[in-house]
Amino acid sequence: MNALGRHRKLTAIWASEPGFKGWFSTVNHTDLGRMFLATAFFFFFIGGLLAMLIRAQLATPHSAFAGPDIYNQIFTMHGTIMMFLFAIPTFEGLAVYLLPKMLGTRDLAFPRLTAYGFWCYAFGGSMMLVSMVFGIAPDGGWFMYPPLSGAIHSPGINTDFWLIGITFVEISAIAAAVEITVSILKYRAPGMSLDKMPIFAWYALITALMILTGFPPLILGSILLEVERAFGFPFFQAELGGDSLLWQHLFWLFGHPEVYIIFLPAAGVISTVLPVMCRTPLLGYGWIVAAALALAFLSFGLWVHHMFTTGIPHMGLAFFSAASTLVAVPTGMQIFAWIGTMWKGRPELHLPMLHLLGFFFTFVIGGLTGVMVAVVPFDWQAHDTAFITAHLHYVLFGGFVFPIFAGIYYWMPHFTGRKRFFYLGEFAFALVFIGFHVTFLAMHWVGLLGQRRRISTYAPEDGWTAINLISSVGSFVLAIGIAMILIDVFLHALTASRGRRNPWRAGTLEWAMITPAPAYNFASLPHVTDRNPLTIEPDLAVQLAKGEGYLGTPRNTWRETLTVEVASGKPDMHVIYPANTRLPILMSAVTGIFFLSLLLKFYWTVPVAVVGVAILAWKWVWSIGRQDDMDTVPVGQDIHLPNFAMTDRPPGWWGSVFLLTANATLFGSLLFGFAFLWTVAPGWPPPDWFPPSVSALALGIIGAGLGPIAMRYATQKNRNGGTPLASLALTLAGAVLVAVACAAMMVHTPAPTRHAYAATLFVLGSYGLFHAALGILMVCFLIARVRCGFTSSARRAEFPIVRLWIDYLSVVSVLILVVAHLPGLMG
């Protein structure tokens, strides 16, 4: 088979449906990456328009442009859109598009999950837009502090749009994070050990792990606040045993890592683009990996620095002040490593490099003001003033938007296969750079002059008029610059002339293919021996197209790839991907009905939607797997690999591990919240305690013990060729016992509307019940699979997955039941 024949055959296997219909059924990462990016930039445009409205309002004193009620919606939506609907999805889109190409494989780990995540994002984002069109958008600030965002002070539907819409969108972040983590750890080209991974993959891996542990506190907080608003459970009401500070802890436990979740992918872009622009390898690869890891961890120990003025004792503040200064060290190390790279090489002033210089100038200022506000006494003055507005825009625009523009211009020839011919981009850069600094530099000063954030107007006597006018003028220059960049991108995609492959002479694998990228990425997978494979083997693209790598012969209609061992990069599994399907869009639509029912308080459709999701999920998982055993598959170079259905650690197991990591973080946050309220909140002890029961506790613990043991028997029985049905039935019985114990706990909990103690216990009980139901569903699924012949002693992959979830159920249910019963039993 020649290269063209191989291309045709692979394209037939991998291509999406033609035309716009293909958008709804595609599961291909190249398509979905583009869709993510296009949607994210659409929201960037909307968020930018809102920013213009803010600056129009503040340009002059006593402005009558918008009243405070509308203005509050505008700035709330500006922050919300930029954070949740632009920055995070842009990372997701870039990672989804680039990672398989950089890692030398054909798609991400779970193609249908990518699509599901995208549609959840698109639908959730649309919900937010609808609220804006009808003038009922959230108006409590993007931080949504109760009691202002509670039912008493914000009775309208506005806040519900935020809590429910953002939670819907977060599904896509969690889905993408699981996907990216598993893909980077397992789905790489053979030979690509951890130290040979492209640096962007390290940054994406760290970011994804941060999303998995950073977002759950916010999701939990949103759920609790929505439950408080809808059903009156007083989690955040001081007079009923709640505490508004609990929200602040949960919010910033998410909100601070969020800043680094936004910065790290951008740093990954810089670490990728800058060395190419300087024609030299990156200086200190291992150091940079360590610095990014340090940054990720330290960022989880900073959250209280958003709460310096809440009256926490000085030693508590000092811990976080110290940690906040320390985080500047790994950040600074990366900056100096990049400048050192520039010194090492010969920097060339291409357009991406201009944006990188814009990054350096802007982000260093933002970092320095960041260190200033880490110093507690200064923050007491600067907090909630325009100084902070200026600081955060230096950090986020400098640390995210400039690098992303650099990345867009860098990978533009890859997206389209074309090259630019205008100098529009250079001119636009100048406008953006000048406009940005005119807008935000003087804003620091007006903050020190006492201008608070979020005010809709001010008086001439305040002495802020000149600076605000300058800011507004600058912001319009900035807006024109960004509009020109968007126009440039459009013109480029439509008109520019065909470019050559690998125009930047980069060394990473995404350039070892024809552009625009074919649906299958690589006609055969490379064997990687270096961090920059194209530098040592410039003809790699041709060799791969000729089928000289792994999996070079298309088989059946299989979308094939292989996975590797995490550390060494040795091939270990053969994978067949699912093909195009509308299941993801359908499932996210049904998920949307669930959220919409909650929003509109049509509670009778909630169970319908839940059942719908369960049925679709069943169908989703059912379609994987085979009813006959399969020999090991030859993948080329004399290597034979087992298919993933015949392993103990299939992709689904890896995905479950990381999904459960996020889930455990959510559960941990819930336990933290319970402990926090119990020890810190005013309004305790509660009027009535939970009536403990030894028998209910014992029942639950027996069930929790039975499940994992029986599941292990089932696994072993299946492995030895016996029938595991009896053991599976016992596992099922264990899960049912846990469900009964959790349900009993919810029934016996005192009225949850009367005190936060009972409210939290009720939520803990529901969490246990939900997971027990999930466990029951999974065991039933496995029983059905066994009966239909989808398992054998060789095809055993589904057992470890179910075992993982049953184990998790046991751990959380024991904790929940102990937390509820034990205090009462002890006295």
Binding site: L194, D195, L293, A294, L298, F300, G301, G316, V566
Partner: protein, 106 residues
Amino acid sequence: MRDIIRILIAPLVWLATFSAIYGLHGLLCGHGINGTAFGLPIERVLLGAAFLFAILLQTALLFALYHPSLAASSEFSRFVSRATGWVGLVATLWSLSPVVLTTYCV
């Protein structure tokens, strides 16, 4: 996967001890206990002991990451895991230093 754990463990332990000591401080302030030990207020002694424990834990981890039988096999993983090991120790010393430097509960 073992290498990933070696790389993550020290900063993860830092995060746990950091949050725990912050929580301990909050607990001591919320439910004040009186008394002295070794001539110091009991709060300071408890916080100091926790700080010392956190430092010892990080030192032990660092020791393990350098120990031939426990260290990672590839040179790269050894380098990164030791670097993050140092991050854990330095972060512990630095971020929890207020235990011995500042006033508590005011």
